[in-house]
């Protein structure tokens, strides 16, 4: 309450520059699995750390992912999303990491310029008013959001009852609300599959899951445990072509699609339902990043980063689903620990940390073949570098190749690849050294299908 009064006095005085400022080494934006792992790693490295989270609680989207399947790699046991989150919440609570909950970040470096250009300023609105947090390093860990009906342009009327799958998940698992009674699910991404099971268990009948592509987009475990277990049909190469209903969804029209993903006339079928759930992809939530001057990769829609997960803006790092969409929270944790440690090293390293990139190594990394993206997009150090990529379509036999100029520097063994799995590949230091020796500025990560013998 005292804070509120102070603010009023300030407003009367018209002194806008008197916004309260608190100084840290590393400011982490987002309190989900990425933010918590980054903050803990930065704290462990000796940094003074703050987490800003817009919800009332830490945990992020894990709080509504009540299903099991988390922690198999990080904790070597199968946990639910809330359990996975709680373990990190407990760790964060056991430190002196400053928490700003119920607080929305308004901008990074958006206000008046600070006297020290090497310090970033995060402006946020908290329950007690506006605050500024400063830090030499900022970690972007805002996660992603769902694609909506407008982004896939489903024709028809616009009644109530069309939800993104994650919103329906929030209604059912957090808010104790029932989105409908008879659902059709478009998209076989993991959230759609998980919601097919969740709806069924809660007495909401699921007529079927429809998938535009000729293959399921989610993890195999989810197809098996969420659809097969409950006899829910998965209709591949089929999509929703019309929403029917005035005030509330009454039915959807589905159609089969051809190899160019165009609906085939004459295959229309009307499916009665009162709810349409959309699980049609995720988009990294990067408005803050862009406003801060961070360059995005059009393929991932996340920041272009180097091997330390540092963006093009010195001192701003990115990790988790705001960087690229992951399929496993465990991978988010691993990546975010790297980002947090690198952010702390940058923040505590003084000017040496800022210019430690060293001379002579500046390579860009580009995807080719069926690789949809390659991350990091820049390599500035000759050291073992973890590359992440995802293929655009499933193949039974393909191999990873690293190419510089016209030379193949590495060829992996032939194996199957699936778009639902985020792959990682350790790029040896000697391969980077060889690329530099060739005088190139770019190395290419290519995933090339192999004709089976």
């Amino acid at each position: 309450m005292a804070t509120f009064d102070m603010r009023n006095e300030r407003a009367e005085a018209g002194a806008t520059e008197a916004v309260q400022t608190q100084a840290f080494d590393v400011v982490v934006i987002g309190g989900g699995p990425a933010g918590m792992a980054a903050a803990l790693a930065a704290h462990k490295a000796g940094a003074r750390v703050a987490i800003v989270e817009r919800e009332q609680h830490l945990g992020g989207i894990l709080r509504q992912c009540i299903h099991p399947g988390f922690g198999l790699s990080h904790f070597k046991q199968e946990l639910t999303g809330p359990e996975y989150a709680q373990r990190f919440i407990d760790q964060v609570r056991a430190t002196n990491i400053a928490l700003f909950l119920d607080s929305m970040v308004l901008g990074i470096d958006s206000g008046a310029s600070t006297e020290d250009a090497a310090v970033h300023t995060v402006t946020l609105m908290s329950p007690t008013g506006m605050l500024q947090l400063t830090g030499r390093a900022v970690v972007l860990a805002m996660g992603c959001r769902e694609r909506t009906r407008s982004e896939i342009k489903i024709p028809g009327s616009r009644p109530a009852g069309v939800f993104t799958a994650g919103l329906a998940q929030r209604y059912i698992n957090i808010e104790n609300l029932k989105p409908g009674s008879r659902a059709v699910i478009l998209g076989s991404g993991d959230i759609g599959l998980i919601m097919a099971r969740r709806c069924t268990l809660e007495g909401i009948s699921v007529e079927g899951v429809y998938e535009l592509m000729p293959y399921a987009n989610g993890l195999r475990r989810n197809v098996k445990n969420c659809l097969d277990d409950f006899g829910i049909p998965l209709h591949l190469s089929t999509t929703v072509t019309r929403v029917i209903g005035h005030d509330r969804v009454e039915a959807v029209e589905v159609s089969q699609v051809d190899e160019h993903l165009a609906p085939i006339p004459g295959t229309e079928r009307v499916v009665p339902c009162d709810t349409l759930l959309l699980s049609v992809g995720l988009i990294p939530e990067n408005e803050l990043s862009v406003a801060a001057g961070v360059e995005l990769d059009p393929r991932t829609r996340g920041a272009v980063v180097d091997q330390n997960l540092q963006t093009g803006v010195p001192g701003i790092f990115a990790c988790g689903n705001v960087l690229h969409v992951h399929d496993l929270a465990d991978n988010v944790t691993t990546e975010s620990e790297r980002a947090g440690a690198a952010a702390a090293a940058y923040a505590l390293g003084g000017d040496a940390g800022a210019s430690a990139a060293g001379p002579g190594c500046e390579l860009t990394v580009s995807p080719a073949g069926i690789a949809g993206y390659a991350l990091p997009g820049r390599i500035t150090t000759v050291a073992l570098t973890k590359l992440n990529f995802r293929v655009r379509r499933p193949v039974d036999a393909a191999r990873v190749r690293i190419i510089a100029g016209s030379e193949e520097l590495f060829a992996g063994k032939v194996r199957p690849f699936k778009p639902s799995v985020m792959e990682s590949f350790p790029l040896p230091a000697k391969v980077i050294q060889r690329a530099l020796g060739l005088g190139v500025s770019e190395i290419v990560l290519s995933v090339d299908p192999v004709e089976e013998a």
Binding site: P68, E83, N176
Partner: protein
């Protein structure tokens, strides 16, 4: 007199993120019940073999759902069975759990309902819920 039939099935192991595609040959009796799991291939570790046998005799799954909370800073408590229980019992378990309510505060791991449907497995809290 032996009317048993041999069948080859394919499904993924869900024990770890590798999700090995298992090919399993099973012998079924005239009623379709599994008499014997003849062989399992495609698994890259012994857990795949164990999973296939379990899956064909009595598939087991962890059940997760929510329970209403009174006096908490969240409306719902996420809960899970401490261990996997038979998949065949999930619908019956949901009917039972739907009627439950708990009082805040709750700590992760607290037992919400002991020995769910005589499975020997407890229903436990998945997360902390503080008082409002």
């Amino acid at each position: 007199m032996n009317t048993n039939v041999t069948e080859t099935l394919q499904f993924n192991c869900t024990t770890c993120p590798s999700e090995c595609l298992l090919t399993v040959e099973v012998e079924r009796d005239a009623d379709g019940a599994v008499v014997k799991v003849r062989f399992v291939t495609g698994n890259s570790c012994p857990r795949g073999d164990k999973f296939a046998h379990q899956e064909l005799t009595c598939p087991m799954r962890v059940l997760t759902t929510t329970v209403a909370v009174s006096g908490g800073d969240e409306a719902l408590l996420p809960v899970r069975t401490a261990e996997a229980i038979p998949l065949a019992l999930h619908a019956q378990a949901m009917d039972l759990i739907r009627g439950l309510a708990v009082d805040a505060p709750i700590r992760m791991g607290d037992v919400v309902l002991p020995n769910l449907l005589d499975t020997g497995t407890d229903l436990i809290a998945s997360m902390d819920i503080d008082s409002a």
